[in-house]
């Protein structure tokens, strides 16, 4: 290629920009939801959340697979956690089929999820609850929602110092790759994007594959304060 090669720093910067823009949306939704106060009717809450999140699922080339608000039981006068969650149009999904408009997540129709006793113990809820900070979960295969390989990003919603739920969004690994791979390929050395446990998300080194754990002792570039880093010339540690 004749053009200047990209650097690992530029790749890391692009990752940060993408996630920061999603968090920016989440923050604006959080502020709106916090305004309507506790003990709200779930129908009113759903109407508000739908208005907030659906535009981000229907825009051209959406980054998000799904988005919404997961309310603590107290917030909606219910016994269980309330999912006010929408899934964007799906090209093809073995569980949900093909959809052309956003659909509401119907957890009651997922009998196989009954073994999960309390979704508040899941990472995307429990970590923001304990740290009161934004959080990135994944990449992981999410079987509650679309059964895709994705990230769930969540931030806590607080009313009077009390966490009343989390606003969140799902970012598919495939769509992230589509957006970022050209930049990664432009570097003159192989690069791999890994998460906080060194799990590979994107890689231009074929022996280091998506989903694998790739501990790395060479050069790395942090993605601002996000739980990601870019590995330069990664190699898999030999298995013992």
């Amino acid at each position: 290629m004749a053009k200047h090669s990209t650097t690992a720093e530029q790749c890391a910067g692009a990752v940060s920009t993408l996630f920061d823009s999603v968090f920016h949306d989440l923050e604006s939704w959080r502020d709106e939801i916090a305004l309507i106060g506790p003990k709200t009717r779930s129908a009113d809450l759903d109407a508000l959340v739908q208005t907030l999140v659906v535009p981000s699922l229907t825009r051209h080339n959406p980054t998000l697979l799904g988005a919404g608000f997961i309310a603590a039981p107290e917030f909606v006068r219910g016994r269980d956690v309330h999912f006010s969650w929408w899934i964007g149009p799906l090209e093809s999904n073995p569980l949900l089929g093909i959809t052309t408009v956003p659909t509401r997540l119907d957890l009651g129709a997922r009998i196989y999820t009954e073994y999960l006793r309390d979704v508040r113990k899941l990472e995307w809820y429990s970590i923001p609850e304990s740290t009161q900070q934004r959080h990135v979960t994944g990449p992981y295969v999410d079987h509650l929602c679309t059964c895709d390989y994705l990230f769930t990003v969540t931030i806590p919603v607080r009313v009077d110092e009390q966490m009343v739920g989390v606003v969140g969004a799902d970012i598919s690994v495939r769509r992230l790759e589509t957006a970022l791979l050209p930049l990664f390929l432009g570097a003159d050395r192989p690069l791999a994007l890994v998460n906080i446990v060194d799990r590979v998300v994107i890689s231009t080194e074929p022996t280091v594959q998506v989903g694998q754990l790739a501990p790395h002792s060479g050069t790395t570039v942090a993605c601002s304060d996000l739980p990601f880093r870019v590995l330069v010339a990664p190699a898999l540690a030999p298995r013992v």
Binding site: S92, N93, P94, L95, L96, G97, I98, D106, G108, A109, I111, Y112, E114, Y115, L116, R117, E123, P139, Y140, V141, H143, C147, D148, Y149, V197, D198, R199, V210, G211, Q212, L213, R239, V240
Partner: protein, 258 residues
């Protein structure tokens, strides 16, 4: 399933035939849920549109499936505002239905189901052992520690959950989807043996031993442990089949339906 979701001429050609079998599949799933006690007497079934979404089939297919269930007397339908389909209150001879199900499936089919399931979960265990992070292993251990295997119903739900979690650890969306599909199709049969308290205890112990194997990255051990549990479940099923074919029942003491 995948073929069915692919749009185009192929789907159109096969749609009719596919749907015929599908109504029976809908009826079979609900029958299993009722005779295994997942749905209780007098419980209202989800609405027809909800069922259609749940099974990923057309509304008409669900209606046909419900007709089959009504004919067997497992459900009754009431009209009006409080209407809907309800699991029959009468204590239907569930045992007999279950025995009939086992009678209709040949040994070779039961073996085949067990083989297919074990190959999938052994593959999941192999890969999970290589791909599980310490945090993942800790989370699985914590879930398993609190998972109840002392009653038939909870053991069935948690065995399904364990195999699903194992698929999640492979980082493969395809394996997770296939695990959900296979469990939906055969789970009620495969986990039938969990009515047996000794088998429940054995399987729960096997599952708990898998976690350290995953943490240690010992793929052979993890695969072996998972395979052993599926084999035990498969053998229970074949033993029950033999009892039924000999004119006996499923085994009164083993099937406590707790």
């Amino acid at each position: 399933m995948d073929v069915h979701k692919r749009p185009g001429a192929r789907e159109a050609i096969f749609a009719q035939l596919n749907d015929t079998g599908r109504a029976e599949q809908v009826a079979q799933r609900l029958t299993d849920a009722i005779i295994l006690g997942v749905l209780s007497p007098r419980e209202r079934l989800p609405s027809e549109p909800q069922l259609a979404r749940h099974f990923g089939v057309a509304l008409i297919t669900v209606r046909e499936g419900l007709v089959i269930l009504r004919d067997t007397g497992l459900i009754e339908t009431r009209r009006g505002r409080e209407g809907g389909s309800f699991v029959s209150a009468v204590n239907t001879p569930h045992q007999a239905l279950l025995e009939n199900r086992l009678h209709k499936l040949a040994q070779v089919e039961l073996s085949d189901i067990a083989v297919y399931f074990s190959v999938i979960v052994e593959g999941c265990a192999t890969r999970a052992a290589r791909y599980t992070s310490p945090v993942d292993a800790e989370r699985l251990a914590e879930w398993l520690h609190q998972a109840n295997f002392t009653t038939t119903a909870s053991a069935r739900s948690n065995a399904g959950g364990f195999f699903l979690e194992l698929a999640v650890l492979t980082q493969s969306a395809r394996l997770v989807r296939e695990q959900i599909r296979v469990q939906a199709e055969f789970g009620s049969l495969l986990f039938l043996g969990l009515a047996d308290a000794a088998l429940r205890e054995r399987v729960a112990g096997g599952f708990r031993a898998v976690v350290p194997a995953l943490s240690a990255g010992d793929d052979a051990l993890a695969r072996g442990l998972v395979g052993d549990q599926v084999e035990a479940l498969g053998q229970w099923l074949l033993s029950a089949k033999i009892r039924v074919e000999r004119g006996g029942n499923l085994d009164g003491e083993a099937l406590d339906n707790g």
